[in-house]
Symmetry: C2
Subunit: 199 residues, 2 copies
């Protein structure tokens, strides 16, 4: 008799987890968010509904896990921002990539769904901050600290504020679909931020 | 026989409209947003459900109307920003008031509900921009243009970008419940924006 908790079981469990998260991302990219149900995710993933509910309490929890999984497999290093010694060039590279990512329809719908859940669920918002936003925030701050040491950024600047001034306009423009997220726009945010927090 | 389309009819119609919008604001402030229904709004307002559906196609449309109504009665003038000639002082006044407004629980829940609807409904987002965001945006730009003429702001600055750098961090911090919206925080956004777009 096979050991239920042995390596085969772990592999099966991990395969089913990956199938559920991939199904979630696919469905959210295809359908109006309110029409995506745990039942539909289970059917697409080829598992029973209870397999999902044993692991996650709600649709929003599965959607959050599906977003988290996008940054899995990345080791600690790969979250780090580029540091060529040229802050302006490094930030423009990152902000242009961010603008492109948000402009991608599949990513757009997934993050829009998560943003909606977070806006109305204070507990999920706290988990989002702890597990996703803060680690990214710390990686970005490490790059800014290096710039402070290199004399390229006000050494007294509040780095949370610097990151908000840099990223929040892009986030808001995306959320309200105010205008296209172009590379020129990404650059203009870097320029404004560097002027605001010049040494 | 009374004239159905006469002044009495108009007054009754306006009273019922106001009752529906007040009921919407009250319910959204009290209940989890997904639990607020058109039926509950009708019951609270003392009208039939069809009275609501004759005027608005959906819950999100009623919620949007309830937010719009908050700026009703304001004539064109009162939307204008203060202009004492001191840009920094005027913007700090406005940003502190904005921070306070978002920190108010009743306003918080109403705007959170609207933000959620807008995030997932491109048509409502467009209507929001046209009827609410753009008129406010124009009033703010008029104040910034006056500052440009007075030599207090870069005359070549993109005013949409200036307003995003000023407001988006506050909006994002509020939406993600990142940290309290204090007067000091409001001031720091004005300071950063004025440095970024100094003449």
């Amino acid at each position: 008799m096979s050991n239920e908790k042995g390596p085969d079981h772990s592999r099966r469990r991990e395969r089913s987890r990956q199938a559920i998260l991939a199904a979630t991302r696919a469905l959210v990219a295809e359908e109006a968010y309110e029409k995506v149900t745990v039942e539909a995710i289970a059917a697409r993933a080829g598992v029973g509904k209870q397999t999902i509910y044993r692991r996650w309490p709600s649709k929003s929890a599965v959607v959050f896990a599906a977003v988290l999984a996008l940054s899995e497999g990345a080791d600690g290093q790969s979250v780090a921002l580029p540091d060529t010694g040229d802050l302006e060039a490094d930030l423009k590279l990152v902000m242009r990539a961010t603008a492109e990512e948000f402009a991608d329809p599949a990513f757009d719908r997934l993050i829009r769904a998560l943003t909606t859940e977070i806006a109305n669920d204070a507990a999920l918002a706290a988990e989002y901050r702890e597990r996703l936003a803060q680690p990214l925030q710390e990686a970005k701050k490490a790059r800014l600290r290096s710039a402070q040491e290199a004399g390229q950024l006000d050494p007294g600047a509040d780095l949370d504020l610097v990151l908000e001034v840099l990223y929040a306009p892009l986030f808001q423009r995306w959320l309200h679909r105010g205008a296209p997220l172009t590379a020129a726009y990404a650059d203009s945010l870097v320029d404004a931020t560097l002027r605001a927090f010049a040494p």
